[in-house]
Symmetry: D2
Subunit: 328 residues, 4 copies
């Protein structure tokens, strides 16, 4: 039984608390937040105690592992603080908004950087994970092209955008990690950003983007992003290889299809919230983390993956802003 | 080059005339109809001559084969007249509305009954034909269950119903032939008829039906019929065998799918007219007929198949009217 | 918080115990089984106590509701015993194998018969339930035809078949309830049974069946059953109405589709185990039961529904054995 | 009735000859080729006369319109020659391999440049054309993102590649026109090329490519290209707008789907030859051309579209070779 503390009692902390509660080998011991109300509420809902003092987390004898869901600006401090006292760590992405800060974290961690899990949950989505495994098994031959479509149902408020680090660090970062999951290290990036949303434009960020990437072997990828999508949370992937292709389609709540005078085969809207869309992914992510803790080994995705995804986000930002291809 | 006469210049005669015109090994020589206007119009449109005298068809030296699209009541006379003078015949279904009449035709024809093609065009639909061939190749193992869905876009006028012979002879006859195409001779039939349309009910016929059938080997089939269907011409088939299943889905005009706030994967309506839905089937039917003429051999479906389908229609009518299972 | 006892610690008892454990308003207090090993194992796994004495269930002050998963032969005794002491009951289907026994249970229960829930879990499948609700909302107009396809992945052992009551009572019973869920009371049944499996044939039962049904309004249904299915657990439904149709398709584990040199759009096999296929249904069934207990009201499906489904199973058995349509 | 000459009796000339033969308002009068054998064969097959002297085409009084399917290097000469004598022209793409040559043609034509149709047949594919029309009707709101997937079943021989002008001019040119069909003029291009095929690499060309494009309004497009595709001729398009998306899926020969122990919903391979895939497009292209001739008006796509597509091909070639974004 792995005993967990959760740092940060906000929405994502609650998601993790539920996954821990449902997991047969996990138990929640302690909840930390800078504010008492959410810390207390989450602790009580899950039968754990809470604290407003982060040192209590580090010092707790009944905490084996820490899940960090605090504000991004606190990630590095909470990672280093937890690792320093021998806790195992699963931290939400990104490592940091600032590349230098992320690299500093990675360097301070040294060998431990590959043992701190970073929450790129989409790698654990059953469909994406299945395609990755089947590609690795050689089912479609040499992988040549990857197409990642990722559109959010609704754009963030303009005030969020201001502190988000921009679309490439805030949203595309997941897709950069997905590209790395399939293609490994990337050597060339070209990104186009644009705006359909005036408020986001006014806040100085793009709300739509397309990116091209190339890996060292010459395999290509394209990412298609939008902050809004009328039909829900559009999350698809196509892996194209020498012998065929594997596609992950969107998910709907049921398998019902309708035929009427004006159309046929009409399914319901796509699952439109990251928690319902990636519910299975969060659960399998925790499985993977616990397995790595139990077996005391490195895990993917980790802090190094986080730094590399951030490097792609910075390259894409530069490419989109300066209108040029960036080599890494 | 096979030289054709067409008997009957109505809608179905025009369909066949077009198929003959498009066929590289066929040419249209002569058109017969009881009325001059349609005969002349069709003949001129296709560069053929026309006649109002049926004997001219029988006596024409430049006619090798005859396609009969006359009213059903004339089928037997036109078949026998044509075969008597050595013409090869493709006749629209049914052989006759009356079983005794159809049997008389079959008996008079003797061995020729298997050389007169009957226009059960659906056997030549690319999807249904493909499934039949793949079942025959053993791709799904022993065939065990067949599901035939057949719904017309719009019901016939009540005055047509009166002289149609009833839904089982007029509409389900195609599905009975389809069941025989897959399962061969049938030994047991149970049919339920019902009404959603008051006018057809008043005319003494059913407008919806479901039928169960069993062949000599014990394989089962179900037919689902409706005279009306809001989303078009619903024509599907499922063959279920020991090792899997093969399904033919409906056809839409294009491959376009739409996603919106209320639904996803919405395709257009199903092709809603028998000519567009079965355009390829009519063309392949003619191919099969010409091949049999050229090779001077028996063909399926033929007059015997027509008599057997009619036998199933009579059994189903009896079953539905008397509320009992009928053994053949 | 509703406090549960589970009667019967076998496979289905374990399914319900898991659902109770996961439910925020339910807790498991007591497990009964005739044998100690399974009772003890289940109780310990779920933090409950266990007993081999059924009276202890009836007398337990900390048990509000009972879930009955005992052998079918014990259902009536356990239902009556529990209801007599004021416990609320959710009983697995069927009420009894014998119609007279089921009717006796219903009559002894009197008004309580509509408050004892019967475990026709498929009514709670998200897709089937959604179609039922949309039909009720009038989305496809007057419901006219229902097609239920229900094929099990693997046939039961011949020794099970002997005591099962036959395919119509053991397997089709779910489909009869589904037809009643959509069409209400049935007035006419015709069933064909057949065999693809020699062992089941030798045991005196059918292993495949097709059934036609008609309700009082003239709406028709067809059921297609097989004890085996190469591609998994084939569970589909089509509701056809005046204004369109709603179809529930099969479920696969992921949304992945493959294209290769020989085929395209290939998905994985259908979910092939009733627990994975109907996992959501069991959970929603418990929701519905708890809601009815909390609100102290009647519930569907109940013992009356169980008796009516059994009546259809008996009619179908008679129809298939005697080769005739049965009126109810 | 429009009387046609065909210049070039090769494969594409034969395609057009067949479309002319099938068209009710068109007739083929004359065939020209530099070689006698193909000219004679095509003329005889279609009941036309032939010539080896191009001036005979220009001088023929019984030729209203000319379809040019000669080698690309001859296109400009044949266009200018035909227009000079007042013939209406439908020319296969591209106008020329060399941009300067294409511009010279456009300039010499002056106002006539918009009356010479260029054979970007994909605009007439029923699915792509339907999406374009529905986008124009505002069905998905403001168009924001376009994804074009275009993969050929088999790569060309290396010797063809040498004289092809490179993948962007030879293959992607169709996709550039498709992007312009939806997004109009393009202001920014970034292209990545790569190689999976050693022979094509040795010939100095790419065999796979991905391209990003932006129009003046900021709408983005991505093109995904491959010279080879295991599952056939992969031709898809997604138009994404403020209110939803429209997708054109690949076409298979029939609607048959297979379920077996290892997979479900498996369709046949995608139509794998441009003539079967775009058969309807060639026919509708001719419809559009004849309508423009009859109504004596401008037509799209025309020589100006050809020049603009070529401009994008040159920009993409430059972008891919120099590793930079190109502004237009």
């Amino acid at each position: 039984m792995i005993r967990f503390a959760i740092i940060g009692a906000g929405r994502i902390g609650q998601v993790h608390a539920r996954a821990v509660a449902a997991h047969p080998e996990a138990t929640l011991t302690l909840v930390y937040d800078a504010f008492e109300a959410p810390a207390k509420a989450l602790a009580e809902a899950r039968g754990a105690r809470y604290t407003l003092d982060i040192d209590e987390v580090y010092n707790a004898a009944d905490v084996d592992a820490v899940i960090i869901g605090s504000p991004t600006a606190m990630h590095v401090e909470h990672i280093l603080g937890s690792v320093r006292v021998g806790k195992r760590v699963l931290c939400e992405k990104p490592v940091a908004l600032d590349m230098a800060e992320a690299v500093r974290c990675m360097e301070e961690l040294g060998d431990e950087a590959r043992r701190v899990m970073l929450g790129f949950n989409r790698r654990f989505d059953p469909s994406f994970a299945e395609i990755n495994a089947r590609v690795a098994d050689g089912e479609i031959g040499q992988l040549q092209q990857l197409t990642v479509t990722s559109r959010d149902p609704q754009g963030p408020p303009a005030e969020y955008v201001a502190g988000s680090g921009g679309i490439f660090k805030d949203m595309t970062i997941h897709d950069f990690d997905m590209v790395r999951f399939f293609l490994g290290d990337i050597v060339e990036v070209s990104a186009f950003g644009t705006n359909a949303d005036e408020a986001i434009k006014a806040a100085g960020d793009f709300d739509q983007a397309m990116v091209l990437l190339r890996n060292a072997d010459g395999a290509l990828a394209t990412i298609v992003n939008s902050r809004t999508c009328a039909y829900g949370y559009d999350q698809r992937l196509e892996a194209f290889g020498a012998d065929g292709a594997l596609n992950a389609e969107n998910l709907t709540a049921t398998s019902v299809r309708k035929a009427s005078a004006t159309q046929t085969q009409a399914q319901g809207p796509v699952l439109d919230f990251f928690l319902s869309r990636y519910e299975a992914a969060y659960s399998r992510e925790l499985d993977a983390f616990i397995a790595a803790v139990v077996e005391d080994r490195e895990i993917s995705p980790n802090i190094v993956d986080g730094v590399e995804a951030l490097r792609l986000a910075e390259a894409a930002t530069q490419s989109a802003r300066e209108g040029r291809t960036v080599r890494l």
